[in-house]
């Protein structure tokens, strides 16, 4: 009985210490990454490449998700609003939901799934194949060379993708609400124009910056330390790191969404 209790307690202690250590390491990693932005080597071309990977290559999937999100908002909104005879508010409802909430959150989740997982796997493979060690041995700071350009690229790409998501989503809502269900086009656009304020756009923008930083931090961190805790550097460690990266990033995005909303409201 005593042995069992000791086992449980020591297990709990190990778990806690592991998480405290992990959190500290992640914080230091973030600091090194941010500091790396201002250190050599020059990284303009690298940043452009990553903006292309995170941003341009996500266009299709973001557009697709946005169109259907807008369309389903149009459908659901019309159904609800028509109960009160206020279909004219459909434009405002769709635009506000997208700009304040769904645009930033869904864009971030889609980018995490598409680009975050790939970034984590790429860095994880670099770790297990000793490429990160090789960088260090060449006196090149891996944080400045590998991580910092991705941080910057993510901060550039995510707000743009979010804006694109909002526009396509509003068009999707228009398609269903106006073209399919017969809402007055003037009412749709006018309602939107009257109800959306700068504060709403600002909120969406702030969120997209925060989500961008969160997802890129978590995905690069998980890849960078793939297998390090276990001391084994095999392909399964990269797989585990990638799964962790996507799950933790997604949860972090949803939790921080609530926190940011409650702070900004």
């Amino acid at each position: 009985m005593e042995g069992l209790l000791l086992d449980v307690l020591s297990g709990l202690g190990r778990w806690t210490l592991g998480h405290v250590r992990g959190t500290g390491r992640a914080g230091i990693f973030l600091m090194h990454g941010v500091r790396g932005v201002f250190r050599k080597p020059k990284k303009f071309r690298a940043i452009l490449g990553h903006v292309h990977f995170i941003g341009t290559k996500s266009f299709f999937v973001i557009g697709f998700t946005a169109a259907f999100t807008g369309m389903v908002l149009g459908l659901q909104g019309y159904y609800t609003l028509s109960k009160f005879g206020s279909e004219g508010l459909l434009g405002a409802a769709v635009a506000l939901s997208l700009i304040r909430e769904l645009g930033p959150v869904l864009s971030a989740l889609m980018v995490t799934g598409r680009a975050g997982s790939a970034i984590c796997a790429e860095i994880g493979i670099m770790r297990i194949e000793e490429q990160i060690d090789a960088l260090e041995c060449m006196a090149i700071d891996p944080h400045a060379y590998l991580i910092a350009p991705r941080f910057v690229a993510s901060l550039v790409a995510m707000p743009l993708l979010t804006a694109f998501f909002d526009v396509v989503g509003i068009a999707g809502g228009y398609l269903v609400g106006v073209s399919l269900l017969g809402v007055n086009p003037g009412a749709y656009l006018d309602g939107m124009q009257k109800s959306v304020e700068w504060l709403d756009v600002y909120m969406g923008l702030v969120k997209s910056f925060i989500f961008a930083m969160l997802f890129i931090w978590i995905c690069t961190y998980k890849g960078y330390f793939a297998g390090v805790d276990r001391g084994s550097f095999g392909p399964e460690d990269v797989g585990r790191a990638t799964t962790d990266a996507v799950v933790v990033s997604s949860v972090a995005i949803l939790v921080s969404d609530y926190v940011v909303t409650s702070l900004l409201l």
Partner: protein, 274 residues
């Protein structure tokens, strides 16, 4: 021997190393003479790769254990470590080439980061390095398109890009056919002859080790089993050295009680029995 001691570029003094609670290196001491090939040899898992990681500063070392030109490696700040690493080249076991760039770009990485050379100059230097390792026509290839031996050669070209004074090589011949491996050995000897480079090579290949070494260090279970000139190692009467040199498999030296106890405990108490 007095000559090598005077020209020691790296000194290792009573180095101990741990992975968690497990001790992997115990009381290792030796010196690396400048301009010579030092080979660290031993069976898999004897701690030789860990030793290499200590020497290149990838695994933290306690103060007073490794000295580079008389200065304690553990006391290096970031700037000193950077300066040290600009003077060394490392060839990793599988080459550690960056998969996302061509061989040419791989070799150009240290030049682009550390020098302000114009792109045409870098391109010429890359070609020289490619020629040096016999890969002149493969600059545009991606690492995944190369064979294992070629990847090592490309890794070597990158390690040589900054003309290092010291070159660390991890298992140059593992996974290669004998002819390719011999080619790599020749290349290592050439570097010593032509550039006066100091080389530290970690390997478990006997033939290769005796061929290239000026000094041999044989590791066994984390300790230095024997150290000296290749001839003196070959003439050693030490049982473990002879066993290693004649490639006899490990004999079961455990006592039966220990074996029984391991069976009962699932071998969890490693280190309790001899």
């Amino acid at each position: 021997m007095a000559e090598t001691e005077a020209g020691a570029i790296i000194q290792v003094k009573s180095l101990n190393s741990f992975y968690g609670q497990r001790r992997v290196l115990q009381d290792i001491s030796f010196e690396v003479p400048a301009g010579k090939v030092t080979v660290i040899m031993g069976v898999s898992g004897c701690g030789k790769s860990t030793l290499l990681r200590h020497l290149i500063g990838l695994k933290p070392t306690d103060p007073g254990q490794i000295f580079v030109e008389g200065r304690d490696l553990a006391g290096f700040d970031a700037r000193q470590m950077e300066a040290f690493r600009k003077r060394i080249g490392v060839l990793f076991q599988a080459g550690a080439l960056f998969n996302s760039m061509s061989v040419r770009d791989n070799i150009a990485v240290p030049l682009r980061v550390h020098t302000r050379l114009a792109e045409p100059t870098i391109s010429i230097m890359v070609r020289i390095k490619l020629h040096q390792v016999g890969l002149t026509r493969f600059g545009d290839y991606m690492p995944s398109q190369l064979s294992g031996g070629m990847r090592k050669r490309a890794g070597l070209a990158r390690a040589l890009a900054m003309d290092p004074e010291m070159l660390f090589v991890d298992e140059p011949s593992s996974g290669l056919d004998p002819i390719t491996a011999a080619g790599l050995d020749d290349l290592i000897l050439e570097l010593r002859e032509a550039m006066g480079m100091t080389l530290i090579v970690v390997t478990h290949e006997l033939e290769s080790a005796f061929r290239i070494a000026d000094q041999l260090i044989v590791l066994d279970q984390g300790r230095v089993l024997a150290a000296g000139m290749p001839e003196s190692i070959r003439e050693s009467r030490d049982e473990r050295v002879v066993q290693f040199l004649t490639r006899r498999a490990d004999e079961r030296t455990r006592d039966q009680e220990g074996y029984l106890s391991d069976l009962l405990t699932g071998g969890r108490k490693v280190g309790v029995h001899p």
